[in-house]
Structure formats: C-alpha cells, structure tokens
C-alpha cells in the first residue's frame, strides 16, 4: 500500500475505485454529453483525452494532474453534486485551478455537499495509481492506495 499527503481543499472521507488521467482533464468536455443526455452514468466524452475517453467517471475517484478548459467546469461540478453523477473525489498531483476550486467550494457552501478534494499530491502519486485501484481518502488529506 502506498500513501500520500496533500492539501485539503475540501475535507472528507471516501474509499472506492479510481480512474486515472496522466494528462490534464477538461471537465466540461468530459461530463457534458452524459449530463445533457440526462443519463445517470457518466462516460468521459473528451475526445482529446485518450486516458479517460469512454471511461466511467461517476462515483469514481478522479486522479489527475490538473483541470483545464472552460470556466463552466466549476458550474458542472457544483451541479453534479445534486445528482448521482458526481465524481467521488478529486485528487490532483499539482495545484488545483480556480475554476475547479470554485465548483467544489460553491457545492459545500450553498448546498452542503462535499466532494473530497485534495491537491499537491505530487507526480509520484500519479505514478503510483492505476485505473480500477481502490483508494481511501481521509479528512486530513491522506491518500492510501490499495493494489
């Protein structure tokens, strides 16, 4: 088991399977098609991201370097929190971006819904995780990866 420690942007605990993107993720492009089609499951629709394209994202811990793309991404995250389509947690190797930070803060502040969000976990974190691996997130920002 590997463990990592990052900075807690949104505190929370969760233990479930993860999906991993080695490249930056465009959240709007990833979630949009499923959201607009009103589906309960989200399959990544971002054509520019072969790491995630077609993979299921809802209820999964999303491990990634950073989030890029439109400023509506925060809105997508915020709204996802009212549905079963939200990712279980967001784990960033690098620092979180303003758009994503806003999304998870708005969800917690205005809806009382928390998506555990940890950033600055380091490149070695992304090296250690694989699709389907079970990850546990603690409220203090410790990440435990189980093979």
């Amino acid at each position: 088991m590997n463990s990592f420690r990052g900075r807690c942007v949104i505190s929370g605990s969760i233990k479930t399977t993860c999906v991993v993107s080695r490249r930056n993720v465009n959240l709007t492009a990833s979630f949009k098609a499923s959201v607009l089609a009103g589906k309960r499951r989200v399959y990544c629709a971002d054509q520019d991201n072969p790491d995630l394209f077609g993979r299921r994202l809802d209820g999964r811990i999303l491990c990634l370097p950073a989030i890029v793309g439109a400023t509506t991404a925060g809105l997508v995250l915020h709204s996802l929190c009212k549905t079963p389509m939200a990712p279980a947690a967001l784990l960033f190797a690098g620092p979180i971006d303003p758009v994503t930070a806003a999304g998870v803060i708005l969800a917690e502040e205005w809806m009382g819904k928390s998506i555990p969000t940890i950033d600055r976990l380091g490149e070695e974190f992304l090296d250690a995780v694989e699709h389907g691996m079970v990850i546990e997130v603690t409220p203090e920002g410790t990440i435990m990866c189980f093979d």
Partner: protein
Amino acid sequence: MDSRFSLTEAEKAILQGAGGETLRKVYSSIVRYGEVFGAQKLITLDGPVHLVTSFGIPFLSPTFDIIDELLDAHLIPAEKFTVNPRPMDFKNVPCTLPEKLAFHLLYRKQESYEAQLQSLGIQNSDAYTCSCFLQEVGNTPQFGEILAWSESSAVTYANSVIGARTNRNAAMIELLSGVAGKTPLFGFLTDEGRRADCIIDIRCSRRPEAQLLGSAIGRFMMDQVPFIRGLDVFFPDGLDADCRDYLKDLGAAAGVNGALGLFHVENLTPEAVNYGSELVKKGAPLSVIEDDDLKGLYHGFPVLWSAPAAQAHMAFVGCPHLSQEQLQEWLDAILHRLEQEQYESCLIPVVLTVPPAIEKSIPSHDRSLWALKGIHISSICPLLYMSNPLCARKRIITNSNKLRGYSTARYYSDWDLLNQIVGGQSA
C-alpha cells in the same frame, strides 16, 4: 486551511452574519476561493462583471437556486453586466422540427433564467455575447481595471489585449464577486501573477491561423503565462482591429486545450509594449512553434463523425463571436467566391455569429438576400447549439478550435472551410 486573509471590520461582520445568511455565504464563498490561492484580501471591482452562464438547462438548478436566494435577499451586482450568448435562434439558424423540440426540452429553463438575469441587472436584451468587450456591446474595460469575469475567451482578451485584470473565474464566482463588489486579490490581479513563465518563439513562414496557433500554445502552456515572440512581424500596424481580432481568436483557442488566461505578445499587447522582456521571469524556458508543428496539429485533430468523408451539413464561423470587421471579411470572402464560381448559393448553409448589437445593425434586406445564398447571421452560441444531441449528430464544420474541442464539430482552416462552404478552389 492556513489563512493569512486580512478582512476589514465590515467584512468580518458580514462573515459573522451581520448582513444576513445569504450575504454571509456570498462573502464566505469568495473568501474561501481566495484562500485556496493565497489571496490576502478582497479588492474592489472597477467594472461590471461578465457571466459565462447563458443557458437554462434544468441540470443547473443549483445555480438557479442560488440566484433566487440572492434575489430574495435583494442582493444584485452594483453595475449592469453582460452574459454569454443565448443557446437558441430559430429565426436565423436552420433547424428541423425535431431539433426545435429538442432545444425546447434541453433549454426549458431558458425563459425563467433570462428573467432571473433581468432581475439581477443584465445590461439589456442585447448583452448576450462572449465578445462583450467590443465597442458595439459596451462592456469594454480600460487598462489596469480590476474585474471579475468568467468565460475563458473574454478573460484572456481583457487581460492580454486590453491589459485589464481579471482572474479566470468560475461561473458564479463572477456573479458573487459582482454582488460583493469585491474579488480576492491573487493571480492575474497582481503584478507578479502577470509575469511571463515562458517564452514562445513563433517561427512560421506566414501568419498562422489564430485558432490553430492558439491551440498549439494552449497545449504547451496549460495555465502559465507565455511571452510570445515573432508574431509582431505579421502585424506591421501594431494592435489595430485586425490584430485585436486575431488575438481574440488565439486566446479563445488556447483556453480549450489549456487553462490560459493571459498572454503577452512582444511589441503588440499593452504590457509587452510597456515593459518588454522585463515581464519575463528569470530562467523562463523557451519553446518554438514552427509551420510543421501547426500542420501536424491540424491533421491530428480527431474527427468524430461516423462518415468522415461525407459532406458537411452546416458551417459555423464565429466562436467566439465575430467583430464587425471579421463579419465583413467573411461576407466578402464568401460572396466573392460565389460570384467567381458563378454559384447561386453556398453548398451548405453557413452561420456567421456576432453579438446581437452587430446583428441588429445589419439591414434586413441584406440579410434576406444573404439567407437566399445560404449565409445566415445570428447571435447564437454555436457551442450551445451543438449541445443539442440531435445537432451533435450532424456534420458541422467550423474554423473554431473552441467549438471543435467541446463538440463533434470538425475543424478546418479558414481557406479549407471556405472551400467546404462554397466549393471551388479558386484563389
């Protein structure tokens, strides 16, 4: 989270609930947002906000709930604001009955959302455009002004081409900042945050397509600030209308593949002119973009059509919205080619998208004439058009890397797009 956030007595009181629960949440949201990025205080806004959210889909009910709560508490921005383009235009964008029904279903909260925006203080019914900074629209900031905008293309333009200061805010953070009249001081609002992290040398034999170069820069840069050299040679007249439009499109494209919110162009953009290479951080790495890089990028874009060789159904030009000059250039190019080839109309309909204020300035007689040739002028958001699942199945072509990146639309360079729209290969 550790915080060195310094609050005034009035701000502290608001955070303790002195202004009511809703105002507390407004301030708490923007303070927490600032804390994540090391902001130490809130700073007063100098101009109106620009909102990215222009579409009423039921999925956004948490957003509509926040707005209702703000309106119930009589909390609105102090200055009239602008908003991104609307998602529907049945009058000017060719549309089948099933597509119309799908639009009405998808955007069934549009009317109630626009009513909310009206109550919040949108500038007027023409204030729906992503190119809000154009003089015809009127949300045009001045150099150095502090703003809280979202919509990545507008943010990048305001920061880079005008020299105003806004972070690449998320949707709702701009509105909450507008309500507070303040925004957290960090990132692009600070001198240090505006310095260039790297240098990009453009070594191209001719002026690259703005949206293609933007895509290449976005992939290189992520959220860093580039200092772009070698582009000024293509703009001998400096930062004129042509150059501003080019940089508008470059910035929009860069925001799709990266998280770019500010770039400097040597000898062109205001801060690059004022400070030159002093803007560049010590030890900033150098990257080079050449013709072959752009050619490889162009031919490497994925095509998501089931029949890639089939003819397109329709073309969109104007994501982000075209300026008056860009609209005229495209009209001239299409009409000239039609005349040259002696064609009555385009092979496929083309929709040129502009801000409502520009759209309304065009005489209806001209528009009717152009419509007969397959040329339509609209203020719709092409991206939101493509969000309709029925439209997403159509073979839409565009010269916008932004539209390509967020939809099934296929990218063509300007020249190739013109060939697709009109046919013929005339020079």
